[in-house]
C-alpha cells in the first residue's frame, strides 16, 4: 500500500515535470537567444510602456539600475567593474565628468539623427569632445516656479520675489537638491551666468538663500513634492518644473509651472554607452530607438516625469498622435512654443558650479537645511 502511494507520487511528479517542461519550452527557447542590456538610469525610464517595444523587437531584456542624483550615478559606476552598464542615462552636466573619468565610449556621429535635432541641441554643451559626441541629447525640460494655483496665481508667479511674500510664510517647499535651488536663486540675484559666480556673487547668493529659510515648509523628494503641491501644503516650489507639475496636471490637480521674468533653467538628460560594454551594438540600437520618433514620443510622455524632446520628427509625431500633450508641453509646431523661450534668452542651462566645487555647494545646501 505504502509502496503504491510512493509509486503514484513519483509518477505524478514525473508527469508533472514533463508537462511543465513541455509548457515552458517555447519560453525557454526564446530566453536562450535573449540578451540582457544593462542600463544605469534615473528612476522611471525602464517603464514597459517605453522600452517594451524595443525589448520585443530585439529579443532583449533591459535591466535597469536606478539612481537618484548625479553623485550617486558616478559612485555606482566607480564602484562597478568596467562594462557593468551598457547604457547610461545621465543629466547633461554630468557627461563631462563621465567623459573625464573615462566611463563612457565615444559615439559615431553618423549613427544618430543629429540633423533632425533643433539647432539649439545639435552641438550640445559638454557632449562633444574633439569632434566626437560622447552622449546623445534625449530629453529636456524647464525649471521655474511650480505653484498651486489656489495659493499662488500665475500673475504672482511672474517673479520669484513672490516667494518672500509674508502670505507664503511656511508655505514654500524645496526639492532636496542643491543644484536647481541655488541656480534658480542665482537667477533671482540677476546673475547672467547663474552657475559661474565669483566670491562676491557667491556670498550674495548664500545670503539670498538664507533670507528665504523662514518661508520654508520642508525639503522633499519626488513623492513628497507631488503630495505637498497637490494638497496645497506648499504654495510653491522654486527650481522644479513640468517634470513634477506635469505629472500632477495629468491627474487633474490645479498646479502649473511658470517661468518667471528672472528666467528659468533647463535640465537635460542624455544617453551614453558605458566603457567596456560587451553589447555595444545593442546599446547603439537602443540609443537609435530612443531618438526615433516613436522612442521620442514615449520618453516625452514618460509616466514618472514628462519632458520635451529635441528632434523635429519627434515633435511631428507627438503633434500627430497626441496634440493635447504637445499643446500642454508647449511643443506645437505652428505657433509659439518652448523653443521661443530659449531663443528669447530666458532659459539658462543647468550646470555644475564653475568657480566653487560641487562640495561647497553641497555643504551650503546642508547648512541651509539645518539653519
Amino acid at each position: 500500500m505504502t509502496r503504491d502511494i510512493i509509486a503514484t507520487r513519483r509518477q505524478l511528479i514525473k508527469g508533472g515535470l514533463a508537462a511543465a517542461a513541455a509548457i515552458a519550452t517555447p519560453a525557454i527557447l526564446r530566453a536562450q537567444g535573449r540578451r540582457d542590456l544593462t542600463m544605469l538610469t534615473w528612476a522611471g525610464h525602464a517603464d514597459p510602456d517605453v522600452i517594451g517595444a524595443f525589448e520585443d523587437a530585439h529579443n532583449v531584456r533591459i535591466r535597469a539600475k536606478e539612481y537618484v542624483g548625479g553623485d550617486q550615478m558616478l559612485a555606482q559606476i566607480a564602484q562597478s567593474p568596467a562594462g557593468t552598464y551598457d547604457v547610461i542615462l545621465s543629466d547633461a552636466e554630468y557627461v563631462v565628468q563621465l567623459k573625464q573619468a573615462g566611463f563612457i565610449e565615444p559615439l559615431a556621429a553618423e549613427d544618430y539623427p543629429f540633423d533632425d535635432f533643433f539647432p539649439e541641441f545639435q552641438n550640445f554643451r559638454g557632449h562633444w569632445f574633439e569632434g566626437d559626441p560622447y552622449a546623445v541629447f534625449l530629453r529636456f525640460g524647464f525649471l521655474g516656479l511650480s505653484h498651486n494655483r489656489a495659493a499662488m496665481s500665475e500673475a504672482e508667479a511672474r517673479s520669484y520675489r513672490g516667494l518672500w511674500d509674508p502670505r507664503h510664510e511656511g508655505r514654500i517647499g524645496h526639492f532636496d537638491w542643491h543644484l536647481p535651488n541655488l541656480g534658480t536663486l542665482s537667477l533671482v540675484n540677476g546673475n547672467e551666468a547663474p552657475f559661474d559666480l565669483d566670491d562676491g556673487d557667491w556670498t550674495e547668493l548664500t545670503e539670498t538663500m538664507m533670507s528665504l529659510r523662514p518661508q520654508v515648509r520642508g525639503f522633499y523628494d519626488y513623492g513628497g513634492m507631488l503630495s505637498a503641491l497637490r494638497s496645497g501644503e506648499v504654495a510653491a516650489i522654486p527650481g522644479i518644473g513640468d517634470w513634477i507639475t506635469g505629472v500632477l496636471a495629468r491627474d487633474g490637480a490645479d498646479v502649473t509651472t511658470t517661468i518667471p521674468e528672472e528666467g528659468g533653467l533647463q535640465w537635460t538628460e542624455s544617453l551614453s554607452i558605458g566603457v567596456g560594454s560587451r553589447n555595444q551594438d545593442l546599446a547603439r540600437t537602443f540609443l537609435q530607438y530612443m531618438l526615433s520618433p516613436e522612442g521620442q514620443v514615449k520618453t516625452a510622455t514618460l509616466k514618472a516625469y514628462p519632458a520635451m524632446i529635441p528632434t523635429r520628427a519627434g515633435w511631428a509625431l507627438l503633434n500627430d498622435e497626441l496634440p493635447g500633450e504637445a499643446q500642454r508641453q508647449n511643443m506645437v509646431l505652428n505657433g509659439p512654443n518652448a523653443l521661443d523661450e530659449i531663443r528669447a534668452g530666458r532659459i539658462r542651462l543647468r550646470e555644475l558650479p564653475v568657480q566653487q566645487s560641487l562640495e561647497t555647494w553641497n555643504d551650503t545646501w546642508t547648512r541651509y537645511k539645518n539653519a
Binding site: 558616478l74 520642508g218 494638497s231 496645497g232 537645511k369 539645518n370
Partner: protein, 295 residues
C-alpha cells in the same frame, strides 16, 4: 546498593556531566558570536571607515582625520545635535507619560488573561511595516486630510499638520509607544503586591501608594521604557524625513545627506559615532539612575 554496580555507574555519570557541559556550551556559544558579528565588527568597521577617504566617489582605505575635522568643524553640527537630542528626549518623556495610564490599567486593573489580550493588541501595530504606518499618517495629517477636514468642518482653518513637531512626535510614538507600553506593564505587574497591600492596610491613600510605593519599585522598568523611547526616537529617520520634513533637521537626516552628497561615508560614520557615543552616555546615565540605591 551493591558494589559491582558502582564501576559501571561512574562512566555513565561522567558522560552525563560531559553531556550537560556541552549542552550549556551550546547555549553560551552564540552570545559571544552574536556580540562579535552584530556589534563589535560593525562598530569596528564604522570606526575604521571614519578614517578612510573618498577618492572619485569611491571609498578608499586610508588613515586620515579629514572626515573628523570636517564634521566637527561644521558650524551647525552642535545645533543639529542638541535639536535631535532635545526632540527625542521630549518625545520619550511624552510617550512615557502617555503610556503610563494604559500600563497601569493593564497591570493593576485588568485580569491576567485580559492583560495578555491587551498586550497582544498593543503589539499588533508591529504586524505592518513601519514605513507603511508612517505613510498612512500623511493621509491624516496633510492639508485636506482626515484631521484637517474634521477641523474645517468645525469652522477651523484646518491647515496641514505635516512638518510640525506634532507630526514628528506622532511618528516617534508610532514606533516607540508599543515598546514602552510593554516595558511599563511588565515593570508594574512585577511590583510586589504585598508592599501595596501593606501600604493600603496602614491607611495610605491611592495617590501616596502610587508615588511612594509603586513608582519607586517599578523605577528600573519605567526608566528602561523611557530609555527605549529615546533610543528609538533619536535614531529615527523615516518620520523625520516624511513627517517632520524640513522643519526639524535631525542627525539621521544629516547622515543620509552626507552619503548622498558625494558618497561621504567617512563623514556619515563620524556623525553615527557621535550619535552612538551620546546614546551610550545617555543609556549609562539612565541605568545608573534606575538602579541607584534608594536612600
Amino acid at each position: 546498593m551493591t558494589s559491582p554496580a558502582l564501576p559501571a555507574r561512574a562512566p555513565a555519570r561522567r558522560f552525563q556531566n560531559l553531556y550537560l557541559r556541552t549542552w550549556q556550551a551550546l547555549w553560551v556559544l552564540p552570545l559571544p558570536a552574536w556580540l562579535l558579528f552584530f556589534f563589535a565588527v560593525p562598530l569596528g568597521l564604522l570606526v575604521a571607515i571614519s578614517f578612510w577617504s573618498v577618492v572619485n566617489y569611491r571609498l578608499t582605505p586610508d588613515a586620515t582625520l579629514s572626515a573628523w575635522r570636517y564634521v566637527l568643524g561644521l558650524d551647525f553640527l552642535w545645533a543639529s545635535f542638541w535639536r535631535s537630542y532635545g526632540l527625542s528626549l521630549a518625545s520619550a518623556v511624552a510617550i512615557s507619560l502617555l503610556a503610563f495610564p494604559a500600563s497601569y490599567a493593564m497591570a493593576f486593573v485588568a485580569a491576567p488573561r485580559q492583560r495578555l489580550v491587551l498586550l497582544g493588541l498593543a503589539i499588533a501595530p508591529f504586524f505592518t511595516s513601519y514605513l507603511v504606518r508612517i505613510y498612512s499618517w500623511q493621509v491624516f495629517l496633510a492639508e485636506g486630510g482626515v484631521i484637517s477636514s474634521i477641523i474645517q468642518a468645525f469652522g477651523g482653518k484646518g491647515e496641514s499638520l505635516l512638518n510640525t513637531y506634532f507630526a514628528l512626535f506622532l511618528g516617534h510614538a508610532t514606533l516607540a509607544l508599543p515598546v514602552v507600553l510593554i516595558l511599563q506593564t511588565i515593570a508594574l505587574a512585577n511590583v510586589d503586591r504585598t508592599g501595596i497591600s501593606a501600604a493600603a492596610n496602614l491607611g495610605a491613600r491611592p495617590g501616596a501608594i502610587l508615588f511612594r510605593v509603586i513608582l519607586p519599585a517599578a523605577r528600573p522598568g519605567l526608566a528602561l521604557g523611557l530609555l527605549f523611547a529615546f533610543l528609538l526616537s533619536y535614531a529615527e529617520f523615516v518620520s523625520a524625513a516624511y513627517l517632520g520634513g524640513g522643519a526639524f533637521q535631525t542627525l539621521p537626516i544629516l547622515v543620509t545627506d552626507l552619503v548622498r552628497a558625494g558618497q561621504q561615508w567617512p563623514r556619515a560614520a563620524v556623525v553615527s559615532l557621535l550619535m552612538i557615543a551620546s546614546l551610550l552616555a545617555t543609556a549609562l546615565a539612565t541605568v545608573l539612575w534606575a538602579y541607584r540605591e534608594k536612600g
